[in-house]
Symmetry: C3
Subunit: 321 residues, 3 copies
């Protein structure tokens, strides 16, 4: 039985965004060994028909080269917004060139997602790509989008994840930056929206990708930020810059002490079930119950993920020598 798209993309943690029209930069993105590359055709490219067309061609070249696939890296280009004159051509070009999926920006209504999904169906039919095989990531990055997160998550037929776009959301909500306070406090100003997006995604069975840290230089903030993303329940996190990748790798990988506890919890369950008993008891000051065992399993799966990332980093370093 093949893995479902949903299960597959829930295990992809690092989503690295790059300007989609810069072939050199997109190629270089593979070196950072993200789980997914998001070449951006929207804000990453000037709002002019020529610039958009040129970017589409460069990106199609990259997708057809396929070097990322060998490294186990998926591509989910971000298309232009459904209200723009560019998105339809984006969809057609990306399906034809073999993108693994697409990211729809600034979603606020069910119809916006639907119109893109319908165009994907047409593009699949036109190019002989299996029907329904191109999944979408629904990006929420405005007050209205976050307000309707639950509705949008439930209605996306091709949805594999919600992606919380922090910077557009911050602009939309009228956030006033005070960098020193955000750095010191870990950005409590975003906690509500971050949490709401995960809850909506998870209730609909989708993955969830947190927005990028606003800084790509403050390693301590980035690590705490990624740790909180993982603790809130995000299945992944956006890197808006290669400088973000390492912190996500660290923050989503469990700490050795927690791994040791998780292994003891799983062992406690094994022993209890073997005796026909409920898996209940104390481990390291925690009362173990079935959901604690489930959490331990997720944590141990992340150990495997981190090891795959490290392998990919090594392979990418090798390939770029």
């Amino acid at each position: 039985m093949s893995e479902t798209p949903l299960a597959k993309y829930r295990q992809r943690v690092i989503w690295l965004m790059m300007p989609g029209g810069d072939l050199g930069m997109v190629r270089k993105a593979t070196r950072y060994a993200p789980d997914v590359i998001i070449p951006c055709l929207e804000d990453g490219v000037a709002y002019h028909p020529d610039a958009k067309a040129t970017a589409r061609r460069a990106l199609s070249t990259f997708l057809r080269e396929g070097g990322h696939t060998e490294l186990g890296i998926a591509t989910f280009p971000r298309i232009n917004h459904p209200s723009s004159p560019y998105w339809g051509d984006d969809v057609d070009a990306l399906v034809a060139a073999g993108a693994d999926g697409i990211v729809i920006p600034k979603c606020e209504t069910v119809d916006e997602v639907r119109v893109v999904e319908d165009r994907l169906s047409e593009a699949e039919a036109a190019t002989g790509v299996p029907a329904g095989s191109v999944p979408v990531v629904v990006m929420l990055e405005t007050a209205r989008g976050v307000l309707r997160a639950a509705e949008l998550a439930l209605s996306a037929r091709r949805g594999v994840a919600l992606l919380f776009g922090r910077e557009d959301f911050s602009a939309s909500i009228g956030l006033m930056r005070r960098h020193s306070d955000s750095l010191a406090e870990g950005s409590p100003e975003l906690l509500y929206a971050r949490s709401q997006v995960v809850l909506a995604a998870q209730a609909a069975g989708l993955g969830s990708i947190d927005g990028a840290s606003f800084t790509f230089q403050d390693a301590d903030y980035m690590l705490r930020d990624a740790s909180l993303s993982a603790r809130i329940g995000y299945t992944g996190k956006l890197a808006a810059h290669p400088g973000h990748v390492r912190a996500i790798r660290q923050g989503f990988a469990p700490e050795p002490a927690d791994v040791a506890i998780a292994e003891r919890i799983v062992e406690l369950e094994r022993a209890a079930l073997a005796n026909g008993e409920a898996p209940v008891g104390g481990v390291d000051g925690m009362e173990v119950t079935p959901p604690i065992v489930d959490q331990a399993r997720l944590l141990l799966a992340r150990v495997n993920w981190a090891s795959r990332v490290d392998d990919r980093l090594a392979a990418a370093a090798e390939a770029s020598r």
Copy 2:
């Protein structure tokens, strides 16, 4: 006029959960003098018909002994989920044995609560228990349950409280544990869901019970956690282990400095009303207004609660000598 069930259970703060089939442990639970004991017939008992039946009998024995009632401790056993083959027998046995109420786990839909409430009505009729006299606590512990908290709170006809099940919720939402960060930061990863459950409960006039701290050993974390539960507006908190009880007793009891301020606020109101004036003025750097007076009253009621807990602890120590 007798106290309504709602008013009664809003004043019960410490809800101690125990495996429901272990007669020795459930009896021992009274020694910790919680306000309510939750003997668990669900995850605390192996998922096998014999184990569930044995647990039900042991728990019925405990309920009929009635020793907890003399100590002023109520019992709200947690039944199995309405989708399981066990819950109906749980309800029948518990009503017959005189449980004060029941806890329904993993509620996600209005129908799940309704089906249990209907069975309670049948069990009450069958055993001569007054109709409608057994209240329910609606447990929210999945992404879907928390998402629909407001709807579930409003629809529960026998509801006295929502109970936020943290560990199942954490497993459901895909939270990855990083104990050192959670301990250092006070678990911001749970703040949204914790807050949403209180808001939904309070808007429907129900009490609200926060989940247990994940550790039963770190006294500082447990106290800060209980303090935040009380500040968010929870009327109670779950103890998943006897080690949690003391921190809840401390965190839900006001601090002496705050008690002194509250007494001055109530006195300011008394004096203002005696003069036909609005109760407005400054106390200790706070602008006093009517809602500040209401808050002071709640705080002073908690002083009385803490004193009742201490009496119960003394009586329990005496009884177990």
Copy 3:
């Protein structure tokens, strides 16, 4: 083209509340140079017909004097609740005396807002005030009001802002005060409701005014609190006491380091657009994209606001000499 009421009141940050019946205090409020004064006819005045009538007359005198208008200060008196016997006379008197707008307390339902809006229309017609010219601020300060924030924001036809009433909300939700913990932690107990109100307001295109800090003496807490209000996206903040004004002035004005960054970001955009390129690049460890530019613009607008406040403070000091 004249500025819309919405745009106008989104730029008003400091909303200072005063007991509405104390003519001396309301006059004195202008000295603190808030953007708006909220003379309170509700909780700030004893609940007795004579007291309410006297307060209404005193406030009308103040409004007709008009000294605040010369200083650029608007007045939004808080009327009594639509369920009280006082609110209709409040509305009539305030429209006749020329209030700039009104604040409706403890809104929980769409009908409560509508009934006041209808009365405003009648009062406008009766006094020759242009129809629809008196805007309302919808105050959310109960569990139900905050739960329905999105619905209330969307339905208010005259709405210019939501105002989060912290103390009534805290009383409504059953918050137990622990001052030392709230001071140390920056009141995480309010973060969910604070954030929900902004999201609802912004999704409906309204401004949002955060409640006052519970203390008017702890300068450090007040500044951190105002900073968080601004970062969450609030367009303004309530001062329940003159002691709050300075902290709001500080917390909503950007820090010099952030201003310098914002200026570089705006310059980066200018240069990119001049070259027909997307405004993308790095500034001070941040990945600049279009929403980052929008945020920089909001921040620079706040510099201008702070300078207007300082001018007003100087003028008020001059006038009161």
